[in-house]
Symmetry: C2
Subunit: 195 residues, 2 copies
Amino acid sequence: MGHAYDDRLYVSLDELLDFNGENGSNRGRMGKKNYDNGETTVFKSKNLETERRRREKLSSRLLMLRSLVPIITNMNKLTIVDDAITYIKVLQDKVQNLSQELYEIDATLEEIPEPKIVEVDDAQEMKNWGIQEEVRVTQIGENKLWVKMVIEKKRGRFRKLMEAMNGFGMEYIDTSVTSIKGAFLITACIRVTLT
Amino acid sequence: MGHAYDDRLYVSLDELLDFNGENGSNRGRMGKKNYDNGETTVFKSKNLETERRRREKLSSRLLMLRSLVPIITNMNKLTIVDDAITYIKVLQDKVQNLSQELYEIDATLEEIPEPKIVEVDDAQEMKNWGIQEEVRVTQIGENKLWVKMVIEKKRGRFRKLMEAMNGFGMEYIDTSVTSIKGAFLITACIRVTLT
DNA sequence: GATCACACGTGATTC
DNA sequence: TGAATCACGTGTGAT
């Protein structure tokens, strides 16, 4: 096969100087380089080493890219880029799905806000639940309170009140709730056990 | 400047046949090709077009990769790969943060499970809240119930009961709660208003 | 043995 | 100008 190239127009430098100085076994190459052959300095392109460094840099970056991609089908330069493309698409899809899922959860969490814990003797805060003016809290013992209130009869309001008082750490000794047209009348004896 | 290369070892084909057949203005190239010059067939490498296709494919894939990366600092082959590397890192970080955030939200959501809505006359389901055997429900009118129960005195249990009954669409006409050592005694008159 | 992928050195081109 | 980038055609080891 060697003679098949005999009619080419130039002679490769490798055949004139069959000598590879540095990288003797890189991949499939045998260092087609230009050498200073004793006295006769053969031609050297100006950007020979520059170009070599450029190639090295590109190759190393391709290897870095390959190290980032988990699924690798081949070691080719082309498949490195190819796998990187599909991996980027996968990552973009993942980010899309995750952020949408997170957004939906945030939306549903806003629908059910955290129930407020309110100080029981703070009349202003209690108004936020619709309790209006009719709250009386009297201390009847060391840590016992007598609570009487009239609140507007609305679905869930009584429950919220119970939640708040319960969350504050108080113990119902005796409670009575009576519903009178559109309102609750609540009287309770409560023992406060502050932590 | 042209004479600076006169001492090189071979003569470029471009200078023998200064003629570019097909891709006259691709980038910075003027088609250093081999041509069948009439009768004298000059040398043609076997993998000339194969190699050309390979280069074209790699370049096109690099362009595809570039089109996926939003932040582009340059058009270079090297910066394309470089930007892809940083972009993949950004995407991986994003996925990491998003999935961790989602995981934390899921964890907090599991702490506060949805309160169960239970049928009020289903004694078995009521046991799930700790109500043990002492539930009596008697119908005393068209849509009125007389409920009497003793439940274990545990924080939050009374609140949950109220939640469940309230969520079922019933109206407390009169309720009294008394705490006796470790237990609640609850008697209630309820009007059921089914939707 | 034909094909593949690669690195090589080089001229052209752009800024 | 000079540095940087690119595509080219080719030789060569590996599959």
